[in-house]
């Protein structure tokens, strides 16, 4: 029986690594500090494995064959795949047995994920791990949701998958302590006329609904209003999955700032009882 040591939600954007100087130095320091605080909180739970909920940005998957959901069952994962991303190359250890367990359990539970034994992870997984300063040797299971090419799985389906995932992790006896990092969102537009115009009202409402603790209200709002928050906001599917996995644990925001010059509403949050929110303060 594995213990879930923490369920974290955090934005990702390649701009953080490629164009850090587009925002003032003090703001950049504040944001990077918030990721580091998340990393410290994460490490304090001493997880043996990390389940990364993220999305591929059309690097491993293309329109000739695009899974709605893909579970990684590789021995290891190189990163990054983007030739243009300003990040040092690294290799993440995979927890193949854990990935295989989750894949088989998902199929038994009537979900239909695809699987991959070889993926090169992109900035969507690498950036938050890098900024949080997580142990590069911590074995991971990446689970990638299609948030980038319609048609896509519904917010509700992602929430339901998260519920399955949390239960399956808690039943697993192959590791003792597991953390989840759900990464993506919040409001942002990629290569549209609205790019650089963050909808902070959407983000604020979403965070408030998460804090209020009513999953149905969160899923309903995400479903009905995501179109106002940009194509990048579709990545809150991973937040829906985290909400499902949390199984009623309270959500607290650790950080939020609408950063138009990074094109993104940068949000970090946590499901559980830790002091992460108190450690970093809230920023509106």
């Amino acid at each position: 029986m594995a213990e879930l040591t923490g369920i974290y939600t955090a934005s990702h954007t390649p701009v953080m690594l490629n164009f850090p100087d587009r925002i003032p130095a003090d703001l950049r320091t504040e944001i990077f500090g918030a990721y580091e605080a998340m990393g410290r909180d994460f490490e304090s739970g001493k997880p043996d494995a990390l389940v990364v909920l993220s999305n591929d940005h059309l690097h491993n998957f293309f329109l000739n064959n695009f899974p709605a959901l893909c579970i990684g069952v590789g021995e290891s994962y190189e990163s990054p795949i983007e030739h243009w991303l300003k990040a040092k190359r690294r290799v993440f250890a995979g927890n193949q047995a854990f990935g295989a367990y989750l894949l088989q359990e998902a199929l038994q539970a009537d979900f239909d994920p695809s699987f991959s034994m070889e993926m090169v992870l992109d900035h969507g997984s690498l950036t938050p791990l890098e900024l949080a300063g997580l142990d590069p040797d911590l074995p991971i299971v990446p689970i990638l949701f299609n948030c980038v090419q319609p048609p896509m799985p519904t917010m509700r389906r992602c929430y339901q998958f998260g519920k399955f995932l949390g239960d399956a992790i808690r039943r697993y006896d192959g590791v003792e302590r597991v953390a989840i990092l759900a990464t993506g969102g919040i409001s942002h537009d990629i290569a549209t006329p609205r790019m650089g115009m963050v909808n902070c009202e959407f983000d604020e409402t979403l965070l408030q609904l998460l804090e209020a603790g009513d999953p149905d209200a969160v899923v309903k709002y995400a479903t009905e209003q995501v179109h106002t928050a940009g194509n990048g906001a579709e990545e809150i599917r991973m937040w829906m999955a985290a909400l499902g996995a949390a199984g009623g644990l309270p959500f607290r925001r650790a950080y939020y700032r609408a950063v138009n010059d990074w094109y993104t509403g940068i949000g970090i949050g946590h499901f559980g009882q830790s002091e992460l929110a108190a450690a970093t303060g809230n920023h509106g």
Partner: protein
């Protein structure tokens, strides 16, 4: 406005997507493209207009043709279209009301 230009890709968008995808994932393709754009683009089943949008860095045209925005974004960075140039091209397509939630 919708988050997406197309809720289901057209074949034209798919063919443009295929160029943008292969260009930045196959090992020698970016060098071949930079050496001779027209020769590289001739490998694909594009109309002259579609090829011209890519070789001319027509960011607005590619957006309107419905290419996947992540492929478009990665292409802009990958072929080093200046950030402010690609942003201005996209912003120029903004219609009245698209930003109404900002008020």
């Amino acid at each position: 406005m919708s988050n997406w230009r197309l809720m289901m890709p057209t074949t034209e968008a798919y063919l443009l997507d295929k160029v943008l995808y292969e260009l930045h994932h196959k090992p020698d393709d970016l060098a071949a493209y930079n050496a001779d754009k027209d020769a590289y683009l001739a490998r694909f089943k594009l109309t002259p207009e579609m090829a011209a949008m890519i070789s001319g860095n027509d960011v607005a045209g590619l957006y309107e043709a419905g290419v996947n925005p992540y492929l478009l974004r990665a292409h802009c960075i990958g072929v080093r279209i200046p950030e402010d140039v690609s942003l201005a091209a996209l912003r120029g397509l903004m219609k009245e009301g698209d930003d109404k939630w900002l008020n």
